[in-house]
Amino acid sequence: GELYCSLPTPRNVHFESINMKNVLHWSAPDGTGDGVLYKVKYSVYGVGKWIRKLECRNISRTWCDLSSETADYEEQYYASVKAFLHGMCSDWMETARFNPLTETKIDPPMVSVSSTEKSISVILTAPEKWKGSPEEESISLAQVYPGLQYNVSVLNKKTKKRWWFSVSNNTLVVPWLEPGTVYCVSAQTHVTTPLLSSAFSKEYCIATLKDKTA
């Protein structure tokens, strides 16, 4: 059984998730300096059995990667942290219920651009879901979120005129452009249900080819 624990509990225990890389974070208990150690457990909602995370036993850092334990995004999870210092312990402090599907943050898409004299082509690739090892099969977030699409901005560097496009597949061709002009493209991943949006990618600039007849 658990000892009586008088140490204050870890604070702000929560998941931080990007592309379903789900990492548990917390802050040290109030009023404790160095030397605090922690242990972590997690449970699947509806199953309820707490499972200890062995790699996060007696750790001094204040995070623990639970990505593989929470990889099934059709499930929801709880995690909990306990602190130890000078022989004293704290109570367990739990997260709110964590839903990877709706609570993960998503990255911008990968963008590649090419040009002709009067058009540019943009190829967009959705970010991949976190995976435990390079050997594992890659899962695109486009498979996880069937409603995934892209918002694309195209800027004429000379005139500063900007166009916006909403793209459902992964290719965009922008026609009727000026030859020999630099255009800069930036794109955002956008999911409609649940509502998720990434930041915009950095700008990818390319020049249209010079007009051969000129």
Binding site: S43, G46, E74, Q76, N99, T102, T192, T193, P194
Partner: protein, 152 residues
């Protein structure tokens, strides 16, 4: 489509839903409502099997049953001491009511066929619900709304 509505296809049944409005409403109360549900060992909607196991041909039947379930057995038993939470719950309930009307039309036009799998699944959901007292069961069901929305 009005207010960010989207057409959902459940077999032959096509329904326009403002899903993001419901999701935004739920997101605003999720932590509060789920915080009132201390029972981690049982899920009303996912126990013992996830909704994701249901064949798409029977999806309309289950959704029809579930919208009736939420309107008749969940929202009305989820009153809290917090008026903000109550307002959000009634807004979600109103959205469900209007969707339910569309589902009834699909059901009346025989577009929502119920097979053994969906019938068994809904029976299990009711068993899970009756396994708790009404208020706990209703609050837990409301806290699982994102499970339903994610599956839809």
């Amino acid at each position: 489509l009005a207010n960010g509505s989207k057409i959902f296809h459940f077999g032959p049944c096509r329904i326009s839903m403002s899903m993001n409005e419901i999701r935004a409403g739920f997101a605003a109360i999720k932590a509060n409502i789920q915080g009132r549900d201390p029972i981690r060992t049982v899920s009303i909607l996912s126990h013992p099997h996830s909704l994701h196991r249901i064949k798409s041909s029977e999806k309309c039947c289950i959704i029809h049953h579930l919208f009736n379930f939420y309107v008749d057995k969940v929202f009305k038993y989820c009153t809290t001491e917090d008026s903000y939470i109550n307002r959000k719950i009634s807004s979600i309930a109103n959205s469900f009511l209007s969707i339910k009307r569309n589902l009834v039309q699909c059901h009346n036009q025989n577009m929502c066929k119920c097979g053994q799998e969906s019938t068994e699944k809904f029976k299990q959901i009711l068993t899970n619900y009756k396994g708790l007292n009404v208020t706990s069961a209703a609050m837990k069901s409301l806290g699982e709304l994102d499970i339903l929305l994610d599956w839809m």
